[in-house]
């Protein structure tokens, strides 16, 4: 038995363990897959990863996997997989109603358009994602979306819009004390300021970038410094302060082994250094630099940066009058810039070509340049308008929403108020109804009481009358009979005299019965005991139960009188007819009702067949007169039970 238990426990433990282990295992293999995907860019890997993650049934884990692989797909510019993860996220949202997943879905949709260089759609989805994140109060996501949006706006040369986005982003990011995105936002702000000719301010934000980065726990800030120097140099360059720009590029290039740490920054720095040398007339140094950068860039997979090298070389050769070389590089730059949709460079190169190429061709280049410039200008404006429209729409929607909200609240308030008034109305109505009902019941109960009291008085009056009759029977009738009796006696009518004596005795008995008791002197309890003892015998026992309940002085004497007479009548009946050995008289008294039951074990009778005798009828009448209830239960050989209920106060 013990062994079995132990095995069971072990099994259970293993089960639990294996479950958690399972999750860990999948997580491990997902990491492996992620690394492989990052390295090899195999298209089928994310699909594999997703089906593996979905096996865990852990929503948080599944979501994390979608997001992780999705962003990698973006970096790898793997559009099919990016859109797969975007769709997965949307389905995930439909299933779980997790708004965060929906926000990510919009984000990745935006990323798809970013790869496709469709700025307006990209911006549109960024904006949607941003709204949702703002609603979720996810400040970091909001800040990140603003950063991305400012990037898009910058690319489309909507610098004011970009500045605006950055400032909004900073509003969310700064309270978070987050480093990476906050510092990026500072850079974007600086760049936007640079483009709008506010160089000093721009440099201030570059410094801020560096300061923010320095808050991180990193030990070496070479890469950050490289970026900072580059940006600062660029701002001086834009101010035509080539000397200063060059000194900053020099600082960047003097960073230890920058070419290995960050080749891109190294190329940019070298290019910038060469450009400024070119501007300052140090053409040899410039050419050397340019060519080195070109060499380095040619090794890269990403050919887009070649545009800059060819453009600069075109410019350089143009200035040294090496026309064929100049045209070669400029044409190459133009082709590349067309390929990569870099309109600024297209314009630049077209303009340069128009100068280099003489005659009809040159004129055509110039024409294209102007046309493109025009259309670009228009496009820029359209884009700006679109961006602001998208933002404006959302803001309008928000405003409308808040307006609706306010209206709704007001409506709710009004409804509540109406409801309250209604409730108050009902309460008042109910209250007044209750009041009226209460009043009516009070009036009716008082009336009932009055009626009851008058009935009791009636009974009392009849009792008095009875006594009066008894008295006059006794005094007058009996007196007269006595005189008559004496006269007859004197005249020797013995027979008649004897008869008359009998009559006289009858009258006397009657009168005694009528008057019998005066209730003021003897307590009800004693009255009943006396009454009972008149009937009591060893063979006819009468038990009295709970008589104290009724002996209280609070109970009206007419009620007591009725009870007494009922008991006397019942005992007489039982004594005469029932042949009973035991009688039980039980009293009980509640606040409202007095109950008396008289139970015997006599022969009983059929309550249906027998005509109720005058005694029972009198009892019933007497009880009902004071609003009481009288009932007889009996059956042959089953004894008899009489129940009398009399209201205590007339109700």
């Amino acid at each position: 038995m013990k062994k079995l238990c132990f095995v069971c426990v072990l099994l259970l433990a293993f089960e639990g363990f294996s479950q958690s282990q399972n999750l860990e295992l999948i997580s491990d293999s997902l990491s492996v897959l992620y690394k492989e995907y990052k390295k090899t860019r195999k298209i089928n890997i994310p699909t594999k990863a997703y089906s593996l993650a979905e096996k865990t049934k852990s929503d948080a884990f599944i979501k994390k996997t979608y997001i992780r692989f999705g962003i990698r797909s973006f970096f790898l510019e793997d559009i099919p997989n990016l859109s797969l993860s975007e769709q997965k996220l949307y389905r995930f949202f439909q299933k779980t109603k997790d708004s965060f997943a929906l926000a990510k879905h919009y984000h990745y949709k935006a990323l798809i358009f970013k790869i496709k260089v469709a700025s307006d759609s990209c911006f549109y989805y960024y904006n949607k994602s941003l709204d949702l994140s703002a609603k979720l109060k996810d400040s970091l996501e909001v800040a990140r979306r603003y950063l991305s949006m400012s990037n898009i706006q910058e690319r489309e040369r909507d610098y004011l819009g970009s500045e605006n986005s950055v400032i909004n982003g900073l509003r969310y990011a700064e309270p978070l004390n987050e480093i990476k995105f906050t510092s990026y936002l500072y850079i974007n702000l600086g760049i936007a300021l640079k483009y709008t000719q506010r160089f000093k301010e721009a440099r201030k934000y570059y410094v801020k970038y560096l300061e923010t980065q320095k808050k991180s726990k990193k030990k070496n800030f070479d890469v950050e410094y490289a970026l900072f120097y580059n940006l600062t140099a660029k701002s001086y360059e834009a101010e035509f302060n080539y000397e200063k720009a060059m000194s900053f590029y020099k600082k960047a290039l003097s960073i230890d082994s920058l070419a290995i740490k960050d080749p891109n920054k190294y190329r940019l720095s070298l290019e910038g250094f060469s450009y400024n040398n070119f501007k300052l007339g140090n053409k040899d140094i410039a050419l050397k630099g340019y060519l080195k950068v070109l060499e380095l860039r040619k090794k890269l997979i990403d050919k887009s940066s070649l545009v800059f090298s060819h453009s600069l070389l075109g410019e350089f050769y143009a200035s040294t009058n090496q026309k064929s070389k100049a045209i070669f590089h400029t044409k190459k730059a133009l082709a590349l810039s067309r390929k990569f949709n870099n309109s600024e460079r297209i314009l630049e190169n077209l303009f340069l070509l128009s100068k280099l190429v003489k005659g009809e061709k040159g004129r055509k280049y110039l024409e294209e340049h102007y046309r493109l410039n025009d259309s670009l200008f228009k496009r820029e404006r359209a884009m700006k308008i679109q961006f602001s429209n998208i933002r404006y729409e959302t803001e309008k929607k928000e405003k409308e929403n808040s307006k609706l909200k306010v209206e709704n609240e007001q409506k709710q308030l009004r409804i509540e108020k109406e409801q309250q008034q209604k409730t108050i109305g009902w309460l008042v109505a109910g209250g007044s109804f209750l009041f009226i009902a209460f009043g009516a019941s009070v009036v009716s109960s008082r009336r009932k009481k009055l009626i009851f009291e008058s009935k009791l008085q009636q009974v009392e009056a009849r009792e008095k009358e009875r006594q009066q009759i008894a008295k006059s029977l006794h005094d007058e009738v009996a007196g007269d009979i006595r005189i008559l009796h004496k006269k007859l006696e004197q005249k020797k009518f013995l027979e008649e005299s004897k008869e008359l004596d009998r009559v006289k005795n009858n009258v006397r008995n009657l009168s005694h019965q009528l008057s019998s008791i005066s209730f003021d002197e003897v307590s009800f309890k004693n009255q009943i005991i006396n009454l009972v003892s008149d009937f009591f015998d060893a063979n006819f026992t009468i038990k009295i139960k709970e008589i104290n309940a009724v002996s209280s002085k609070k109970i009206n004497s007419s009620i007591k009188r009725t009870l007494f007479l009922s008991i006397r009548e019942s005992l007489q009946n039982i004594d005469k007819y029932a042949d009973a050995r035991n009688v039980i008289l039980s009293f009980s008294c509640t606040k409202k009702i007095i109950t008396l039951t008289i139970k015997d074990d006599g022969v009983g009778f059929d309550t249906n067949s027998l005509k109720t005798g005058i005694g029972l009828k009198n009892m019933k009448e007497r009880v009902e007169e004071i609003n009481g209830h009288f009932s007889v239960e009996s059956a042959p050989k089953k004894g008899t039970k009489i129940t009398i209920e009399i209201p205590n106060n007339g109700n």
Binding site: H474, D475, A478, G479, R482, R508, H512, S516, I517, E521, V522, N526, Q527, I529, N530, L531, V532, S533, D534, F536, D537, A538, T541, I542, K543, I544, K545, I547
Partner: protein, 225 residues
């Protein structure tokens, strides 16, 4: 000089008066006065109070000859008047009334020294009553005695504590053992002293000589099974 015992007889029936007179003559030598109405009787007693007071009074309860002018309209009123005036006269009720209610009322409220019934009355009984009355004792005729006892029985029956005592009494050799057994109505136990008082009252009520007799009588009378 030894004065004769003075007796007053009040009854509305002359025949009854004559009967009582006859009987009294058989019993002894008394100074007897008679009257037919309560008012007259009270006057007589009152006036002779200081000079030559009555010792005994025989009175009926109901008087057929009362009129509206009567001040005292029956035996009860007469007795009440005498007691209220603090007159020291031994009273015997001689009447036909046997309803317990009336008997009880008269005996418990007016406490006459004797209660006799006209129907069962003879010289012996009257003599017995006079003797008892003269030594300030009480004499109730047998039927009345029975009535009072029956009434006591009923009262005992209603008293649950009394019933308990009567039921438990044969089970214990000593009365002291009853302490802690007899419960009061409120659930507490009755003290020995209270039990003894109660037993005394019961013996008196049922006319029992001792506790054994009491239990036997209670059984006989159907108070306990």
């Amino acid at each position: 000089m030894e004065t004769k015992t003075r007796i007053l007889i009040v009854d509305d029936h002359q025949l009854v008066i004559q009967g009582i007179l006859c009987s009294l003559k058989e019993v002894g030598d008394f100074d007897v006065a008679t009257t037919n109405t309560c008012d007259e009787a009270f006057q007589l007693i009152k006036t002779s109070q200081n000079t030559n007071p009555f010792h005994l009074l025989f009175t009926d309860l109901s008087f057929d000859n009362t009129t509206e002018d009567s001040l005292l309209d029956g035996g009860e009123e007469l007795i009440k008047a005498i007691k209220n005036n603090g007159i020291n006269v031994k009273i015997a009720v001689i009447t036909g009334h046997t309803e317990t209610n009336r008997v009880y009322n008269v005996i418990s409220n007016l406490k006459p020294n004797a209660y006799l019934l006209k129907s069962k009355c003879d010289a012996t009984e009257i003599g017995f009553a006079v003797q008892k009355m003269l030594v300030n004792d009480f004499y109730y005729t047998h039927e009345i005695h029975q009535k009072i006892m029956r009434r006591n029985i009923i009262q005992i029956q209603m008293d649950e504590v009394a019933i308990q005592i009567l039921k438990e009494l044969p089970n214990h050799p000593k009365i002291a053992n009853l302490e802690g057994i007899i419960e009061k109505n409120d659930g507490g136990f009755l003290k020995l002293r209270s039990i003894e008082t109660k037993l005394g009252n019961l013996r008196a009520d049922l006319n029992a000589n001792n506790n054994t007799d009491l239990v036997l009588k209670a059984k006989e009378l159907g108070i306990i099974d």
